[in-house]
Symmetry: C2
Subunit: 153 residues, 2 copies
């Protein structure tokens, strides 16, 4: 345990989010996602498991330290409902809200088709799996920049 | 880079301080300490290098997240000046002051004879080396407990 650090930020997860740089992408997924196989081809190369926590709890921990990227249109992508590309589920709105609450701006969020999500997430920096029960609770978030003043750029 | 995290807390150093538990000891040393060989027998097993930073900068980073142990008489130990067991140098006072400034209490600090320091530090959790130029700038700090309320116990 550390002072001022959310307990869900495990040693491995802290290592990974600190090691990532500008433009690197972190994948955060629900309990049905093929997380272990997808993680095997990421930069980190092995899955980071946050068993026992859902997407909301995990997002609160990650966004307490993780700066989102202001250089791209949408630093958050979520998995589309199959056959309903325009649907945005409660789990998607929940993570989006937590990202905004942990920041000083309204980040944009876009959807990615399911198989395209698998393909893209295989090339991200790392995969974090949660115990989220709600389907399509899968996200890719792009890391931003901390300026010389310590604030998100 | 992360929000609200001192930049000297590297991926590996964050991993280690988060992985440590109550009673585990972290060794923090100057540039002349036999850091690499001593680190080889620690729990972590390899040296964590913070080159470019001195003891004061490194202590500020570590104590921003690291809770000291209130269960022991002195959670900070420093290396004694050879032949002058009662001397406390500026570098020792500097780290002690930073530990207190990053807390809500006045932690005790005790000295350890040089060769005894080597022997004890070989059994600590990990060794962090700095670029501190002042001799005897070597410390062992014991990790404490974060209570359910998020405060140091």
């Amino acid at each position: 345990m550390l002072k001022n650090i959310n307990p869900l930020l495990t040693p491995e997860l802290l290592y990974v989010v600190r090691a990532m740089g500008h433009g690197d992408v972190l994948t955060i997924v629900d309990r049905n996602f093929p997380a272990d196989s997808v993680a095997s081809t990421t930069v980190h190369g092995s899955l980071i498991r946050i068993d026992g926590a859902d997407i909301c709890e995990t997002a609160k921990a990650i966004f307490s330290v993780f700066p989102l990227d202001s250089f791209v249109d949408a630093p958050i992508h979520y998995m589309e409902v199959v056959g309903e590309p325009d649907s945005m589920l409660e789990v998607h709105k929940d993570l989006h809200k937590i990202a905004i609450e942990n920041s000083d701006r309204k980040w944009e969020m876009e959807s990615v088709e399911r198989h395209e999500f698998y393909a893209q997430s295989r090339n991200t920096y790392a995969v974090v799996s949660t115990s989220e029960t709600r389907p399509y609770g899968c996200f890719m978030v792009t890391k931003g920049v901390i300026g010389a003043d310590g604030k998100v750029f």
